[in-house]
Symmetry: C2
Subunit: 346 residues, 2 copies
């Protein structure tokens, strides 16, 4: 898990397809909302000046575009799904930053930090509604060609969004609890991260009317990949390089976050658990105490357990793909994405 990988071609290709459609969608908002959304997406700075950037890496768009191709259709038919998922993902980030009182994301001030809490809430709400509009009426973004299954795609998206929100609410509930098991943490992260990635991997196929078995296999691929992705995220949240993650080192420990490595360590039953629990219950941890936390989580097996989970869920994702009847080319690109996502950023 330490090699540097290059961005798969499909992610660049998908971004080129999806970026103009994202702009067209956000243009449907009124000027107040549009400017704030454009800031969050990295298109403009806080003063509204263009940054020349098209925003993020585009993991979800790539999955959605490939998903249509996996069902034997052109990738462009997955674009309404890709846009809808990007909108939901970004609305959840904007609201998350308010809820977590996070002032920075991707090395920039968060929406609420720039525009205030009220505007962060309303722009998130606007992106959520826009996501449904785009997928229910995909003709907004895809001109001629296939008649797309907007109804089924919207249902898939609404279900995934509901699971994501349930996961977020569990995450918040964990903050109020002393004990959270590794399995509870895993279930929470399957909702919080897995559901939307599952939706991304399946929505293109749903839009073009793929058989249920294909849709199920792709969804499972995405969910497992999402858990693997989140496991890596949780590792980065403690041991990630602050220059790469854009967060201070041991960031999740500073925030007393009950992530996978921490809950695994606490569930180990070994000597050191009590010390770790006591540290995590301490309000303001010193740098030395935070370092000691990281050391304990590692010694109690939290790092290894999370690494193992990332690996086993990556294998489960690939196995789900093996069972699906999809073209070899799409399969190859899904595999490329999967490796890229899980082997990133160390």
């Amino acid at each position: 898990m330490a090699e540097v990988t290059t961005v798969p071609d499909v992610m660049t290709r998908a971004r080129d397809l999806v970026a103009p459609a994202m702009r067209r969608s956000v243009d449907l908002l009124n000027p107040e909302l549009r400017n704030i959304a454009a800031y969050h997406l990295g298109w403009v700075d806080a003063l509204g000046r263009s940054t020349g950037s098209d925003g993020g890496k585009g993991l979800r768009p790539a999955l959605a575009v490939l998903s249509a191709e996996a069902a034997g259709a052109e990738g462009r038919f997955g674009v309404p799904g890709a846009v809808a998922i990007e909108l939901v993902h970004n609305y959840s980030l904007i609201h998350d930053d308010v809820m977590d009182v996070d002032r920075e994301r991707r090395h920039r001030p968060t929406v609420w930090a720039v525009f205030g809490v009220a505007k962060a809430i309303i722009v998130g709400d606007a992106l959520a509604a826009l996501a449904q509009q785009v997928v229910l009426d995909p003709s907004i973004l895809v001109g001629d060609g296939l008649a797309l299954e907007g109804h089924q795609a919207a249902l898939l998206l609404a279900d995934a969004t509901a699971k994501m929100i349930a996961g977020q609410s569990q995450d918040m509930a964990f903050e109020d609890r002393e004990h959270v098991s590794f399995d509870e943490c895993l279930a929470m992260e399957a909702g919080k991260t897995g559901a939307l990635l599952g939706c991304a991997a399946a929505i293109g196929a749903v839009l073009v009317g793929a058989p249920a078995a294909t849709v199920r296999a792709l969804d499972q691929f995405g969910v497992e990949l999402g858990i693997s992705f989140q496991a890596v995220d949780d590792l980065l949240g403690i041991w990630g390089d602050s220059k790469t993650t854009g967060k201070p080192s041991w960031s999740d420990l500073r925030q007393h976050k009950k992530s996978l490595p921490v809950t695994a360590a606490l569930s180990s039953g070994e000597r050191g658990v009590d010390e770790l629990l006591e540290l995590l219950a301490t309000d303001q941890l010193s740098e030395a105490q935070i370092e000691r936390c990281a050391e304990l989580v590692e010694r109690l097996g939290g790092r290894d357990a999370t690494n193992d989970l990332a690996d086993s869920r990556l294998r489960a994702a690939l196995a789900a793909l093996d069972g699906a009847e999809i073209p070899d080319d799409a399969r190859r690109q899904f595999v490329e994405i999967a490796h890229f996502v899980v082997e990133r950023q160390f």
Copy 2:
């Protein structure tokens, strides 16, 4: 506009149909979210103890149930639409209270005041997603019978939600501006309140597959009624009896709200406008100054203009209904609701 009216039968009837379906829907949430939603809806108190109440008056549910009947179907087929709209309406109230920093609603502490801002945001998000699930898969709530048009209904709901959010964002933008015209205020309120009432009056008909002309007429009826409703609300926000409204008297003036009466008064061009502008720009108004504001708004014609608007939009709503091919019984009940809504609470 001063008589006391009794609650129309259809509102009681619709509540009896919709209340159990609301409970069934909210039961789909996880326990953390469910408890907070149940508190907001008035079903339980802050400690989770049942209040024995089924919540609000049910204007929107009544419109949605009647809407199915207007298309010649049984009212129960409008229930998924009624539930979806109640969920959207309530999610917007929960988020609004956070954005406006309002600590009280319906004589009870607001969700954020009891559970904190983060939980208010997440439960609002959850209700929004649930609304889409319910309408996209109406079979959750309606057993046998007609195959309902979930796709078209979801699109109607998503469009109305987007308009409502755009209206709310305009309302917020008005706070940062010195001058807002009566027409701008009216356009904002058509979005903020009219869109969802239009959707309520049309969604039952859409679900049961009514002709486009009927859907359009019902939608227009609801939008006009919504503007009339909001005009009355703005009157109550200044001159309403605090015991009935649950807010302090001159509440909107205390908050410097640029409502219909205020923008109408400011647009009058008469003597007193400058004094009113100056008062509205003053940070902490004394009781005497607030009383003077109310007097000025009235003297500058703001109260009459808003009363006129409430009347003319009620007539426009009834005219839209006249043009629709719907059963007399449904028409009669729509008219009853319209009068009740506009003549309430003085």
